[in-house]
Point group: C3
Chain length 156, copies 3
Amino acid sequence: MSVIEKKLESLGLMLPAPLGPSPLAEHVVVKRAGDLLFVGGIGPIKNKMPAVTGRLVRDMKHEDGYEAARLAALNMLSVIKSEIGDLDRVAGFVRLTGYVASDGDFYDQHMILNGASHLFNEVFGEKGSHVCTAVGVNVLPFNVPVILDAVVQVLL
Amino acid sequence: MSVIEKKLESLGLMLPAPLGPSPLAEHVVVKRAGDLLFVGGIGPIKNKMPAVTGRLVRDMKHEDGYEAARLAALNMLSVIKSEIGDLDRVAGFVRLTGYVASDGDFYDQHMILNGASHLFNEVFGEKGSHVCTAVGVNVLPFNVPVILDAVVQVLL
Amino acid sequence: MSVIEKKLESLGLMLPAPLGPSPLAEHVVVKRAGDLLFVGGIGPIKNKMPAVTGRLVRDMKHEDGYEAARLAALNMLSVIKSEIGDLDRVAGFVRLTGYVASDGDFYDQHMILNGASHLFNEVFGEKGSHVCTAVGVNVLPFNVPVILDAVVQVLL
């Protein structure tokens, strides 16, 4: 078993089935260019449905937003694995951009995205380290509270 | 004539004149780093003016938003051509980020961006396949309904 | 003294202390992949505090927004220097994305970001040339008016 798979297991984490190409949109969720993997437009989807909808903090608490970011990040790991076969081939996370559906007076987008950042650090250690841009927006597709995209460097 | 030019012609599509550096802003619209082309901040501009303004769906219908995304994408092709000379040198689209000016209860940003994604797929086939992040925002520069940026891999 | 340092001095610009990893968020502010530097989530921070808060133009004038973008860009230069040691090793700016906290009827996000673009052009000349995507959003972390992220190509 791969090192990262073992780590996931030890954390009690199961990778969800990878999100396939969206049935509603004409794009894929992961694409490689050289040794960079672009992963994008990933939300807190579970069994092909939004696991949670709404805005911070009108519709949910901080911890619900954090969990939504963590679920989106877990989906991202599943997508990455489906592309490169083995998560041990991740050379390093590079960049995370996270959009958080926010009320106009909610200023803690970075805390919500920690749900994703924490997961990457927990699972990949040093290699999970990444740049993060946290942005508030008024609304997101499917009314999800958070959408992530990322750039990941992989071993060829 | 190049394969892609022929394809554009067969689809009845004419590339608009490439957007030059913005006269109002101190940046360019395309920059290459290695074999990656970064194209950015492209809206539904026609003859140097916004072809459409406003927000989804307060100010326009879904199909107007879709057409705006398609026009922005067509501008993008023109910009890419101006940089690399021949669209046949596109090795593959990698990533599209699209910002859609949205009412707080509009959740179909991904459907709007299909106007761009569909064009890339139509013209480039397999090579047009890309990751897409669709984001809703409250407002965009010049009050346009959609702005795109992209990463494209090219043959050196 | 390096060419760029001399240029900064001639412009009367002092680099602030580099922003370290955020104490509140689990990520870094710069990460390298190959010859690309990803710098992200940089705001108008001064002495570890937001130098200015609020939205354009409800809470501040255009020129305050411009200055905020310039300060964020100066922070970015400091971060880049801390990563590569000498700003002369910047081969070229590639891409800037700027998020501007905006009222729903503020359409000049690109003018605000000129505060950053102008600085890059002033200091790096030809090499400062970059693609820019300007986006309006309803709110940003810590209630800052502008957040930047960038891709920069460096000499290895």
